[in-house]
Each structure stands twice: as C-alpha cells, then as structure tokens.
C-alpha cells in the first residue's frame, strides 16, 4: 500500500512538470501553429539562472521572478528570430530546425559557462518530507501539480476575461480574420511565446531544489512534454494538464513495477497507442479546413 501511495505522490509531482511545460507548447501552438523545441531548455534556463543569482547573493524570492522575466525575453526572441521568419507559409516547417538547433546551442552554452554539474537551490520546502502511510513527499514537489492546475485556471480566466486573452483566442481561431479585425497576429505570437517561456521557467525553478539545476535537465522533459501536448490534442489546456499529470503517474508506476529503464520505452509506446486510438489527441477536436 505504501508503495502505491509513493508512486502516486511522486507521479503527481513529475506530472506537474510535464503539465506546466506542455501548457507552454499549447500556448505557443495556439498562437502561431508552431512548436518551439527550445522550450525544454527555457525550463532548464529558469532553474540555472535562479541558482546563479542566488549564489551571487540575491534572495530566492527576487532571483526567481528575475529568471522568469529573463526566460520570457528569451521566449520572445525565439519567436521573433527563429520562428516568425520561418513560419510564413501555411505549411512551413523551417521553425523545427531553427528551434531544435537553438535548443542544442542553449544547452551547450550553459554547459560551457555554468558547468555540467548540478548545483543546489536551497528551499525550506525541500528539507523535511511529509510522511504518511509508508510514503513521503517534499512539500516542494507538491507545488508542481498545484502550479499546473493554477496555471490552467489562470489561463482560462485570461483567455475569457481579458482583451489580450480574447485576442489570442481570435488569432488561434483564424489568423487572417483576426488580422482583419485589427489584431496584430505577430505581436500576439510574441506575447504567447514569452508567456509560455515564463511558465516553463517557473516549472524548472519549482523543481530545482529537489533535483539540482544542471544544463542537461531540459531536453528529455521538453520532448516528453511535447509528446504529452500532442497526445492531449494540443488545442485544449485542460486536456494538456490532465494528460501531463496522468503521464507522470504512469511513468512512476512503470518504474516501480517494471524498471526505470522501461519507463521511457513503455511510456512512449503508450503515447503512440493513444495517438493511434485518438488521432486528434485524446481531448482534441477535428480540424475542419475549407479548401
């Protein structure tokens, strides 16, 4: 019994990471119909920059917002320089190459300047685990699914209640018409990328006290979160969060009952099966394209 509870708890935490990072993919896809493969690396960047600032003496409550803001700037730069110029035609895919390349470059730069080794980010919530029923979890880890759900509701409120949010929905619905209505789709895409990067960086900062911030931490997370977003049907925020959290839990159970080596093999196989059953994603809707 203790085991099952343990896998559930750590799975919720891991799922929270996937959900937050996948939400970023969702936001960016809606605004520009492009996926940003540097997204895993802004997750890493948020953690790494916070560690560096804290080591220089800043209190973590100041370092974290600065790192999130810096990540947002990077997100905006990626949109402006690496995605927009390569996204002009309806079926353009040049942004795949540019963002994958930039992601690798960001990781290499971090390895050269920050070093390859993980460094700790102290947090009072990662010191004493809460234990019950033979299982335990650090309070810090529970912040992640909470943040993911909060981000999901926050995004919904943003999209429904604010002008900017509604403008984003308009661009997602029909880019050309939105432009005709006076909304600048390029500016919307820029803001969307910045917002997505900020959320991704937040995920990295929240988990860093538990796993140590290091340059290699982002690549696989980014890839899996992208998978999660696709399987969820990338156009649905709630679906993305639900699938993200479920995937984290499933991974932990695979680790516990089969082996940690099987985690990725079985996990990705399940993703492929899910897509075979639900080609539009589990929560996706069929896209109607008028020709």
């Amino acid at each position: 019994m203790g085991e099952i509870l343990q896998y559930l708890l750590t799975g919720l935490s891991l799922g929270g990471i996937y959900a937050l990072v996948a939400l970023g993919f969702y936001i960016m896809w809606e605004a520009s119909k492009a996926a940003n493969f540097t997204h895993g690396d802004v997750y890493m960047f948020g953690a790494v920059l916070t560690v560096v600032l804290v080591e220089k003496g800043l209190p973590v409550l100041l370092a974290a917002p600065i790192a999130i803001a810096a990540a947002a700037v990077i997100g905006a730069l990626v949109e402006r320089l690496l995605v927009r110029p390569f996204n002009k035609e309806p079926n353009a895919i040049g942004w795949m190459l540019t963002t994958i390349a930039a992601g690798i470059m960001i990781e290499s730069m971090a390895t050269i300047t920050y070093g390859p080794l993980g460094r700790p980010l102290p947090s009072p919530l990662a010191e004493q685990p809460i234990r019950f029923g033979g299982a335990g979890i650090y309070p810090q880890e529970m912040l992640l699914p909470i943040a993911a759900v909060a981000a999901m509701f926050g995004l919904e409120a943003f999209y429904r209640r604010t002008t900017l949010g509604r403008a984003m929905r308009a661009v997602a619905f029909n880019r050309t018409t939105a432009g005709l209505m006076g909304i600048n789709p390029n500016r919307i895409a820029l803001i969307a990328f910045a917002l997505a990067a900020a959320i991704g960086a937040l995920a990295g900062i929240l988990i860093a006290p538990v796993v140590q911030a290091m340059p290699a931490m982002g690549t696989l997370i980014g890839l899996k979160a992208f998978g999660v977003a696709i399987v969820a049907g990338i156009a649905n925020a709630r679906g993305v969060v639900v699938v993200g959290i479920c995937y984290g839990v499933i991974e932990k159970f695979i680790e516990g009952y089969i082996s940690s080596g099987a985690r990725n093999a079985v996990g990705f196989t399940l993703m492929i099966l899910a897509l075979l059953l639900f080609p539009q994603g589990i929560f996706g809707r069929r896209e109607v394209v008028k020709v």
């Binding site: 203790g2 750590t10 080794l117 700790p120 650090y138 796993v211 290699a216």
Partner: protein, 404 residues
C-alpha cells in the same frame, strides 16, 4: 633528365649519401623504441564529466612541474599533452594511436572511465605503448581475460579489491547483519556485481537485496522500498554523485536511513548538492586533501592551489584521482631513471624495479611481474572517508569512526 643530373660527378656523392640516409631512417624505427619525453593523456576535458579530466591533469601538472624544476628526467624536461575524448571510447582509441604513433610519447596516462580504458587495450598492445591508469578502477582494465597484459599499469583502485574493502566495513557496522547493494546500470556498476557477491560469500554472508537504476534517474523509491522491506540496514553503493543525490532524497522521503558504504563514484560534488543528507556516508578513496596533510602533501596542495587559483581543498572535486596522478608521474620518473633512456620497452621493464614513497603509499615495490600486480596501490593502502557537514574527510577526523 635524372641521368644527366646524376652524371655530374660532383652531385653523385650527395645523392648517394641522401639515399643512404633515407634508407637508414626507414629501417631504424622498427628496432628502437625511442620515444619523446612527453606524458600524454586522453581525458574527458569537455562534456558532462569535464571536471574529472581537469582533476587528473592537475595532479600530473603538479608532479611534472616539480620534476622539471629539479632538472627533469635523464636531462630532459617532461611535456604534458592533453587530448579530449569527451568520455567516448572510440575517441580514446584514436587518441591512443595518436599518442603512441604520431606523438610517440614515452607513456600514456589513463582517464576517468573504465569503458575507455577497456577500449584501448588492443591498440596499446599492438603499438607497444606503456600506459598508466590513474582512475578507471575496473578489474578487467589490468587483469585481461586472456591473462596477458604487457603494457598497462595502474596507480589507482582495483574493483576486485574494493569490493572486499567495502564489504568488510559494511559488516563492521551492520547491526542486523543484513547488507544490501545498490548499483548503477553501467559497465562499472554491473561489473562490480560478481566482485561484491564473491566478497560477501568469502565473509560468510549474502546480500539480502540487489537493486539497480539508470543514469539520470531521479527517483529510486521503488528500489529502496524493496531493500527496506528486505531488512537491509547497511547498503553498499556503486553509484556516482548525481544519482546518489536522488537516492538520498528518495531515502529521505520514505524515512529510510541505512548506513551507506560506497565505492568512490561519489565525492565532493555530492556533499555540495545533498548537504546534510550525506552525513555519515562512508566512501572508499585512496587519498583526501581535506583535513590533516603530511608535509609533502601540504606542499603539493600549495602548488596546485596557486596554479589553479583555488581557495580550499574541498574544491578538488576528484581528490583520489589527483593524488593518484601525482604519484603515478613520480613512479614513471623513477622508472625512467632506472631504464636509463626514453625507450618504451626499457621503461616497461623498469617498472618492476621501482620502489618509491609517494603521498598515497610507500610503493615497495610498485609493480610485480604478475598481471594482478600491475596495480600499484594495494588494499592495505585504501582509505575510508566519511562525509561530515558536507565535507569528505578521512573517517578518523569525523565523528563517524568506529570506536573499539
């Protein structure tokens, strides 16, 4: 045209002499194994474990600088050449060829990773290149399956000797007499399984549990729950810093606090990232630069500190490796003096005659003519270190020494 050229009598002797010279140069190398006074290594200088290559180079530089300041060896100053293999075995093979053939260095120094050392065994044998390991503790690096190892020597630990050392210390400390084993799923970790099981059997006990995990795993709760349920109160670790951090946290979550006796995959870095969770964890090593140092080791530390601009010995991230490399260079220098020439075969034969007192041990002699004894550091020289307040120290200098 050439005939007209040669017909001129004044040119003929020069041409004949030139031809003779070229012919003699092309015949000579097959017999002599005269080499350059350079010490070359294929190390991981960039990439995830770049700190390991740099740590080895620090020890080598310190020794070479000292030796050159005293006039070098056999009247020549030693040079250090560093090649980067990024931890890739195939690059290590390329570098071994480059060092042995193109640079023709008198000796090649090994790096951190056992797989790389295993990969170059055939190449070294083919070229006839002396090699000195300074970490790569895998037993098979030196004790080849074929039983023939003519060129590879090592100043480092040997996994087959480390396992009994760890089992001994685990048995001294276990109250329930139940020992478990946690190892990483790599060549190093998996290679240690037969060594640890044999060592346990030799002491009349058996492991109550054996669990493995993969590199980059962040949660080992499943494995630890199984070990805890098997009753293991002491665990032997064959793991490295990053994953051990995750293991310690997983233990913290489930409230499982066994005694840990670990091979030297964990070190200074773990103390920095896991902090108080490392308190009392025991580690095998060959040397510690923290705590009380011998006068000679103190001087070496001062030299490294000045050259690398360090402040504290805890900044040496691979303390055993740096010390191994330092002693290794001096053993090579002693062997060169005995050999009397920069000749690879003479150097190799001279190794068996070296007696030398280094900072790690008194090597008396350093090597013997059995394949087992191509390892210079003996189990009697192994040290037990312990984490105390995040710093790795000789266990006697911490509250974790056993009091009898």
């Amino acid at each position: 045209m050439i005939w007209n050229f040669l017909r001129s009598t004044s040119r003929a002797p020069a041409v004949l002499a030139g031809t003779a010279l070229v012919l003699s140069l092309s015949i000579a190398p097959a017999n002599a194994q005269k080499a350059e006074p350079c010490i070359a290594g294929s190390w991981e200088l960039t990439g995830a474990l770049a700190h390991t290559g740099l740590a080895i180079k620090m020890g080598i530089d310190a020794a070479v600088d000292e030796i050159n300041e005293a006039g070098g060896v056999l009247g020549q100053k030693l040079r250090v050449i560093a090649y980067d293999d990024q931890g890739e075995p195939s690059r290590a093979v390329d570098n071994a060829r480059r060092i042995g053939e193109r640079d023709n260095c008198i000796i090649m120094i090994g790096g951190y990773r056992t797989p790389n050392a295993l990969a170059i065994r055939t190449v070294l044998n083919e070229i006839g290149q002396p090699w000195m390991g300074v970490i790569s503790a895998g037993t098979r690096v030196i004790e080849w399956e074929s039983g023939k190892n003519e060129w590879m020597f090592r100043v480092s630990a040997k996994d087959r000797w480390v396992a009994p050392f760890l089992v001994d210390h685990a048995l001294q400390r276990t109250k329930a007499k139940k020992i478990g084993f946690m190892f990483e799923a790599t060549g190093w970790g998996q290679g240690a399984v037969p060594d640890v099981e044999a060592a346990a059997k030799a002491k009349g006990t058996a492991l109550v549990g054996k669990e493995t995990f993969n590199i980059a795993d962040q949660d080992m709760s499943a494995q630890l729950i199984r070990l805890r349920d098997a009753g293991a109160d002491t665990l032997i670790f064959y793991t490295v810093d990053r994953e051990t951090d995750a293991i310690l946290r997983s233990m913290d979550r489930i409230g499982y606090k066994p005694t840990i006796v670990s091979a030297w995959g964990i070190g200074v870095q773990l103390g920095k990232t896991a902090g108080p969770l490392t308190e009392g964890v025991l580690v095998h090593g060959t040397f510690a630069w923290t705590g009380q140092l011998s006068p000679r080791a103190q001087k070496v530390w001062e030299r490294i500190k000045a050259k690398e601009k360090l402040k504290d010995p805890s900044e040496l991230v691979l303390p055993s490796g740096t010390a191994n490399a330092y002693d290794a260079v001096y053993i090579i220098a002693e062997a060169l003096k005995i050999a009397g020439a920069y000749d690879k075969k003479k150097l190799r034969d001279a190794f068996y005659q070296v007696k030398y007192e280094g900072i790690i041990a008194n090597y008396d002699p350093a090597f013997e003519k059995t394949v087992e004894r191509h390892d210079a550091i003996l189990p009697a020289h192994y040290k037990l270190l312990a984490y105390h307040k995040g710093i790795l120290l000789p266990v006697a200098q911490t509250p974790h020494a056993l009091r009898f």
